[in-house]
């Protein structure tokens, strides 16, 4: 039977090319001879059964609509409870938590897959390249994560989750950590999409979903992209540190 990768509500949660995560997973499975299919699941229908679910970013209105639909539907929570892997990015990460902020800051109820709460961060939004070193036990040995973040939330982690990574450059959760992991549910602010820039993370999710040992792929092009983005983020971090020193010196 083929591996079903479900992209959840692409019309509501697809702001930053996040549909790409589903495509990356399906191709990386097929290139290894694992039969896989991509299911784009619209919000006006019941969420189909899947072996791996991907949620992307979205704006305030669609984010709320997606959270309400997912809670009413119940499929995602049941699947996660049964150990099906879930990758939730940006607004998707916020809604799989306990609560997330409306446009006016009022807390809204999340889907509750992760023990995290997100509140509105003071302006400005976190926008830019982000680098983070994986921390979570389940992801031990993964190389540095690279992505682009664009969000206005600070996410507080409860005792039921581990941080996904430690921020090296960028903002992430807002407290020096980035993302959260519990069981096989992974939440992150990294888009880009995250799996295209971090194929090793894609393979962790695929390994969970397929239960198969995965043969290595030729990721030369991903490596070239990663090297370039890691260097760019480090340059950005040095420039920001320099600006801070100049500011401090002027005061």
């Amino acid at each position: 039977m083929s591996l079903r990768v479900v992209v959840v509500y692409p019309e509501l949660l697809g702001t930053y090319g996040d549909g790409g995560n589903g495509r990356v997973l399906v191709h990386r499975a097929r290139w290894r001879g694992i039969d896989a299919e991509l299911l784009e699941a619209p919000a006006d229908r019941r969420l189909p059964a899947g072996d791996l679910y991907c949620l992307g970013g979205g704006e305030d209105g669609p984010q709320l609509q997606a959270a309400e639909s997912l809670r009413d539907d119940g499929t995602l929570a049941a699947a996660a409870a049964a150990g099906t892997p879930v990758l939730a990015v940006c607004a998707g990460y916020q809604i799989v938590g306990r609560s997330f902020p409306a446009a006016d800051g009022r807390p809204l109820e999340g889907v509750g897959l992760l023990d995290v709460t997100t509140v509105k961060a003071p302006a400005p939004r976190a926008v830019g390249e982000i680098l983070a070193e994986p921390l979570a036990q389940a992801l031990a040995g993964l190389p540095t994560l690279t992505g682009f973040e664009n969000h206005g939330g600070h996410t507080r982690l409860g005792p039921g989750v581990d941080p996904l990574a430690r921020v090296v450059a960028g903002v992430g959760n807002g407290d020096g950590t980035e993302g959260a992991v519990a069981g096989r549910v992974v939440g992150t602010y990294l888009h880009g999409p995250v799996l295209a820039r971090n194929p090793a993370l894609a393979d962790v999710l695929l390994g969970w979903a397929s239960g198969a040992a995965l043969a290595p792929l030729d990721d030369t092009e991903e490596e070239a992209l990663r090297e370039e983005r890691l260097a760019a983020a480090r340059r950005g971090r040095r420039a920001a540190a320099f600006r801070r020193r100049v500011e401090a010196w002027r005061r």
Partner: protein, 453 residues
Amino acid sequence: MNALALPPRARAAVLVTRGVNALSRHLGMGSGTVAGGHAGLAVDPELLAHLAAGRRVALVTGTNGKTTTTRLLAVAVEGALGPAATNATGSNMPQGHVTALATSPPGAAAVLEVDEGYVPGLVASLTPDVVVLLNLSRDQLDRTNEVRMVASRWRRALADAPRTVAVANADDPLVAWAAQVAARPVWVAAGLSWRADAVGCPACEGRIAFAEPPAAGWSCTCGFSRPAPDVWIEGEDLVTAGGRRTRLRLQLPGRFNRLNAAMAAAAAGALGVPADEAVARMGTVGEVAGRFALVTVGGSRARLMLAKNPAGWVELLDLVCPGHDPVVVGINARAADGRDPSWLWDVPFERLAGRFVVATGERCRDLAVRLRYAEVDHRAVPDPVAAVRLAAMRLGAGRRGAGTAGAPVDVMAVDGAPVDGAPVDGAPVDGAPVDVIGNYTAFHDLLSRAAGR
């Protein structure tokens, strides 16, 4: 109206505009259109309204196609109304409009490209004869919410403009919603290449259902649906008021340019120019601000195309996709492009399968990974000139090797040929140019590196 009829303050502002523009050109600070307009508006904030008084005015706006449609409309009306004042350099904010009007003969008709956000202000201050509303979708910088806000601002502006003819794209629900309240709408079946931003009904927040192409049409359960078009394209013909047919022959390639021409012809009609005359004049346009220009880059012939957002990419992929030849795709992520190239995953690059794609520009690595997952044969070559050269070599080799009907291209012979840099009139010569699509700064980089431009 004559410049002397302007109030003294506006007259002074015109002199300041011209002076600052001349100075800015003289100092090599660019083409000299924004600085002067800025200075003129500082002297007289009402300057635009004064300058527009007594002219026929058409505004052209939308996410995609505004520069091309503005050019087509300006050319279309020139025969009947004389040379038009137009912001041909693409500075589509009030500073650019001031310069276009202040440097044109008094009373000349004005055909102005307008940034989507400035439409309400200009409709109120200029009371234009025509507003052309092409389409509305996301670009790299703004997302859907912003697009809906723009539509509702257009709607309010048009509700308060009883004299203005709104030439509006009936196939785009956001545009249709904005123009629905216009006193004098002219509906054009101008297509919609990107639906992702139009699925939410602007009238009721429900979902718009689209007919499957080639059928046109869309509707929502609330009753809001596609207005019956007054102007459309049928086969080779443009059909206008009363079912009148005119053969539409353009040099500009692609279905989307035919649709831009339909919008321009409808607007020209509203200004009193018959369709056959407008169409004949539009057929003389071979390139618009470098778009579709045939140039020579590093000794190789190339046709340059610009795509600024997912909808624009879909249009250009439609245009180049029937072929088999190599294509160059250039991606940058500077401020003007948007710093985040994740939109690459919204564009259906899968359509290039079967072609050899040279990925170039500052973010060619992002594109290379995208093409890998689209399973498109490709190579990343960061330098755009080297990228065009590689594609041209593959094009020449492919044509010779396959023994196709097209004349074989000897890349070495093209090198240093006398056409270097000069745009060549007319449609592409069979078998010669490489198709090059770039996003905003990647396109402009290549245009400036095309020798002699």
